[in-house]
């Protein structure tokens, strides 16, 4: 259980840092979110 918790924290940390610091990743996320909203609303 502790192992799973650590894995979740690691995934959240790596994802957040990637979106924040790697140029262009946030734009990609914005595009994906736009598509999700578009599909959900259609």
């Amino acid at each position: 259980m502790k192992n799973l918790f650590l894995k979740i924290v690691a995934v959240i940390g790596v994802t957040s840092l990637s979106v924040w610091f790697i140029p262009g990743v946030d734009d990609g996320v914005e595009l994906i979110f736009q598509l999700i909203v578009l599909v959900a609303s259609s």
């Binding site: 959240i12 994802t15 957040s16 979106v19 924040w20 994906i32 979110f33």
Partner: protein
């Protein structure tokens, strides 16, 4: 591990990654100079601050969206716009729906404190948002909104409070920003 369980675990991890990425992107945008297409942004900083006589706002009818920032709170978002009789209008729909009440906070904030800055084509304009609660006389505007955006805007929707309409007029001189 059964195949269905494996797929479930995979989807759970995928959801965690996408959810984290979306939240991070939204938080990051709050510190940027303006919004992007989806997420709210921080204060509008760049761009010349317009000084001069009140413009004829009919030129916004050829523009899809403008950036709107309230002074309180200092957050910006991208919104639809239209003009009528040379005046600038912005609005928010679905205000009586659960989604609208949950998602859209800026109209209530603007009603409380209408001081705003808009940015159009890189130029910032100081504005004062004033809510219009009666749709009477706004037929040409709602017709334009329908043509421009395929919106279901009507004067009746304004009367019913489903559509919150604001006229973005000039701000009193004493309240202008430096």
């Amino acid at each position: 591990m059964s195949l269905i369980r494996k797929i479930g675990v995979l989807l759970a991890w995928l959801s965690l990654i996408v959810g984290t990425a979306v939240v991070t992107a939204a938080v990051k945008q709050r510190s940027e100079d303006g919004p992007n297409r989806v997420f709210s942004g921080g204060p509008l900083i760049s761009g010349e601050l317009y000084q001069g006589s009140e413009p004829d706002w009919s030129f916004v009818d050829d523009i899809d969206t403008i950036e709107l920032q309230l002074l309180n709170p200092a957050q910006s978002r991208r919104i639809w716009t239209a003009s009528m009789d040379g005046k600038l209008y912005v609005w928010s729909g679905y205000m009586n729906s659960a989604v609208g009440k949950l998602w859209k906070s800026w109209p209530a904030q603007a009603e409380k404190d209408g001081r705003a800055v808009i940015r159009v084509a890189g130029v910032r304009y100081e504005r004062q948002l004033t809510r219009i609660k009666k749709g009477e006389g706004l037929d040409p505007l709602t017709t334009l909104m329908q043509e421009k955006y395929g919106s279901r805007a009507t004067p009746e929707a304004i009367d019913a409070g489903d559509l919150w309409m604001f006229v973005a007029g000039p701000r009193p001189v004493t309240e202008t920003i430096k």
